[in-house]
Symmetry: T
Subunit: 146 residues, 12 copies
């Protein structure tokens, strides 16, 4: 099984940016953690972060026929990018949406997600641990679906 | 550590009610599963289901000083009960909100939750496995907080 | 054929409460009337009234496998109870929604019903006679469906 | 007692148009049925169908002093015609609104009716049988009012 | 100078329909009154009433090159007919909108007019006398414009 | 018969301010005109203009028992002053609302009036001639009411 | 004179729950205080608290013919319960609505009350002292009405 | 192949009405043009214009079993007529919606169409040439569908 | 302790203006009553009424350093004056908002107050007695705060 | 060049009122500062502050023919006064709108300005320094326009 | 004549992505088709696809002085990109908006376009054939404009 | 002191694009001007323009620890980019928002900014001079803050 972890804009700042809100773990640490968990599950996990909407779209396109499931923390693009939604639906690859913070306790414009209604499931609010839960959920879903 | 799993209206029908939407696992099976997982973590888990809003409120009141964290699938009351919100906030016990189905892909009135903005985190869409992920998330949160 | 007539909050006051709005027939008289009509049609009609949302939900659960059709005047819960909607949909039993008064000529918040879009049909505005029309409609529907 | 049954636009297609939605009974059959029921009740029933809003308005005007009650399935004009509302209120003749389908389970723009708040009562969702229930309801109302 | 007085749906009922709301003067009396006033002003006034939206549209078309100003009480079509608006704008003939009753003190849906923003002026609330004031206003406008 | 003409903020600029929109007649000319028309009708007309909301309110209070009808062009206060509405309703004196321009063809915030629903009638869009029509309408109304 | 004090969900927690928001007086102390004030006024005061919407409804029903006025702090049900509104209107007993906190400075969903428009009067924001003011207001109202 | 071109209210004025907005070609010229294009494609094109909503509805009814595709410029009825939508859906004949002007750059109320969501396709803004493009599109669609 | 009672527009009419709505007690009587109650409590009460928004603002400014609490019935300005809100917040003097009538049972535009969310508390609906309750509430608040 | 600086309600409190929000510079200091800057630029600056909407309106009227540009901090009237807008537009004098605080980070009702869309430019958020920037901007604009 | 065909995000997937919705023709085939049609018309057509909003903006900038008309299928950016709108308006090059699917029958957020109100015309719903119709429309427009 | 001037999409067209709206000064001229002003103030100013949202985000990231204040004209991204907001807040660098045109007098969708509520201050409407005023404001703010 081959999975892809996508991180959107500003998530490269993790650990530096507003630690009170997003925690002090860096993205590198999270990715390392998830890869090691994936290894023990016999799963191959690829990781990609970008601040460009177009680059996210293209990475999703490249997953066709190669990736069986996507974990996505689209950051701010969650709330503004229809192109991202179209890319995910266009490839037909199941995905799990995740957020570090609890988006429903933040600004009104973070309460709507263009990705949520078509996601397998959603995890939010557990800080860096949201990644781990989302990964477990995605693996469970894919194993059950096969 | 002592935790409480709360289930709201109609969740006693789990396994029977609209299996295409909610899966075929019964609530008893889920509770058994979570208790056994809790045991291995050295945690005591209590379970309570009711179809009465008032009974949910009172069970939460009784948790003061006894329970350190709450897992709650409030079902339909998620979207209509301010009394539940008040009970949770009144006791000050941290809670995780969870849903079997992905509520953002269902009717518009299920997109708003009276509990979400004050929850530690939220898990939805993984069917019965949402309970397991939510429990892991709650334990992680409480261990980190201590 | 076995049918269930459900009445929600405040309908026990019928005949006493705002007779200008709801008429002077009591709920007992309506139930007696409907039972006698059912008898002549060879139908068994059960009646239940409660002021508790949870009790309505549970009575609907108990109907699984026993009741073929439900007549429901959910009173105020029509406009606020998603739990009731879930209970009705969860059992899959066809139901007819009815109201004594014409809800569309009353307060704005009575113009929306959480039950209407999934009902077989709706009858409102004919006072106590709405029950009789709703019963005829339900019987007709069930006979035709078989 | 003399009653009038009014049918609005597209109802002449009944039996042909989207039978899955509107059933396979033709308007002629419905009218025949209602007339025969009226006969047994000693009531004279006139029937009129038109696709013109203006023609509906004028038929209502002509009812002044001749017709004691109106059954109206205004079809699409239910949701768009203030002229129809004015005609009905202008004559002061009591009317019952009816629909074949359950309008609250269809498009959002069918959830509002310009006629409903001033109607004696409303019946919807029972297919061709809605006409029969509406007629019974209107007769009951008129007999009670005298 | 040649003017046209247009009356829309239900205005043929004037004097009969809800006299408490619309007064007891008939449309014939109003038209006679306005014609006699026009005569003394050396103006030719044509009058037309219809309950058909299409007929109003066509009467306006026929005015091109013949009529210099229009008085219109479009009744219910004021609030629903874009076709009427288009007909008036298409001919480019200046018009005055008038109402017997004060539409802003009635139902919410009567507060918007599809004709008002392009009218020379608007008169409402003076009962049958609104016609007279609107006619004076239109004459004043046309004399000033020439 | 004693009437009062009230003019609100900025109407002292009439003839100077945006003549393309409001015309080139000054308020003094309008007042002179209306007074002379009133004289011929045997009516006493008082005139008052102010840019202060409070002064309008107090002038209305002083009219109790002295003034039988009010003509009011409240200018911008039409759309923002509830105090003015309360003053008019508090005295119970019938009033006609008038506007020089057609407010429904201007900014959205000019489409609502706090005075309109309780006015005898409304005249707008005829420039300075709106005053004359409004006065005729008010006189007609008061004569008819007595 | 016999009065009833009703308290809704979570008010049994008073003194414990969020003291920064609701103060540190317990419900028992408030009830004792009000009863002693009532005694000196020669009034009999009954007190009832419940977390169940249905139980509030039924307690109101039982007041018919026994209670002359109701003081109600419906807590969260203020904002969600139409059943409570119907119960109060159905019995026709005058009531005063009260709140400990100033609900208009809290979450948006607490700004609307289903009870307010039909209440004699409303008191909010004075903490436990709101009960005392509300009681004085109710007594004043009832004495004046007799 | 037999097609029908429908034109709604005010389109008989084409060439005369607001040429800056709608161009200077008359409807007769457009119809002649389209018929000649259809001839070369071996297609029979019928044309019908009316200002009556009811007449449009009936012409659509008469197309059942005779017409394979409809081109419709419903003019103002695009934005107000649910009856037209019902007629088109009731017959099940595929249709293309077209507009001379770009409706999205005009008044807000022209941005919604009751026909668009069920149309094969939509063409707007090319003036008289919109008809030609719409016809090509419809033919392409029908040929592909067979 | 020195307090200030502020009354806004039209409240000078009290006793005269719509007695069915506002009661028959004059403002002078209310002020006299409150002063005598204050005297017995050893409190100095100043009273001020004006119909000018600017005068209310300035009276509030003059209270800095002199007044410890404000009772305010801002009348219509409650719903429209941000300047009043700013004046009250700018001085930092605690205030109680009060209304004679129950504003939530009146026009929609009276349901919002620019003062409420920052008030100590709110009293409405008890007629002239609202002043007394508001005064008691303010005194209680100030005594408790010291 | 002669300019006018207008300050609206509560700005006389500057330096005293909520210094955390508005800074500690008094209005006198700001005016002195701006006058001295104007002197060095060879510009005559007049200053006027009032808490009365009507007085602002009249001061603007008096500027006709005397003042070439206006700096306005209308305070709370920014968000509520259409009369002010009308006065500014009526005189045709270019104006710059300014605010001490960043109004878009405050209450929702401060996000709309009745003056902004017709202003030359807008400056907000720089505290007392906003006045200086606004003055520079106005001078630049006027010099460029000549 | 030199034209430019722009395709936005995900359109490189054409033929692969959701063929039920977008058809099975690839973008290469469409571009080849349009180029060959352009050739026969003596027109030079350039084609560009990108998933980056910024790249679309820059390609439009580069068209200044080189391209006479633009065909644009902006995909998801149609509904979210104001930058694209600004780029198109900034260059002043006429453009036609096109869509493969009928956007008005899809999700609500696809009903609004930031490009539509300034486009020459719009074509949607004809699948790959929409490109051909849009090209014909653009050529017609440009030929007519010269 | 080191500052950064950021310009978003289409601002490279300045001087060319819609000069009636944006003026005829090029971005190069503006940057040169600001740099020379900065020099005289002993400040180092860096300038960056891009049409890519992601590139703006990354330039902001690179400013951490190097730049003390940001001037940003985000152009169209002002109204659509949450990623930009997150980047600015994530770095914690104070910024001033500026616009050439007065955005509040343009399309409705330009009235909201995702950056405004967290900006130090905002300047708009002074054309190229807005940059100068914004720079002065930023310098003032930073000097005062130190």
């Amino acid at each position: 099984m081959r999975l892809l972890l996508l991180n959107g804009p500003n998530l490269n700042l993790l650990g530096q940016r507003e630690p009170g809100l997003y925690g002090s773990t860096s993205l590198e640490e999270i990715e390392k953690d998830l890869k090691s968990f994936s290894d023990t599950e016999g799963i191959q996990l690829e990781c990609f972060q970008t601040n460009f909407e177009g680059a996210l779209v293209e990475r999703i396109h490249q997953s066709i026929g190669k990736i069986e499931g996507i974990l996505i923390n689209a950051g701010a693009y969650t709330h503004s990018s229809i192109a991202l939604r179209d890319a995910l639906l266009g490839t037909g690859i199941p995905y799990v949406e995740l957020h570090l913070s609890n988006t429903s306790s933040r600004e009104q414009f973070r309460h709507h997600s263009y990705l949520a209604d078509k996601a397998v499931g959603i995890v939010s609010g557990f800080g860096a641990y949201s990644y781990r839960l989302a990964l477990e959920g995605l693996i469970f879903y894919l194993r059950q679906a096969n």
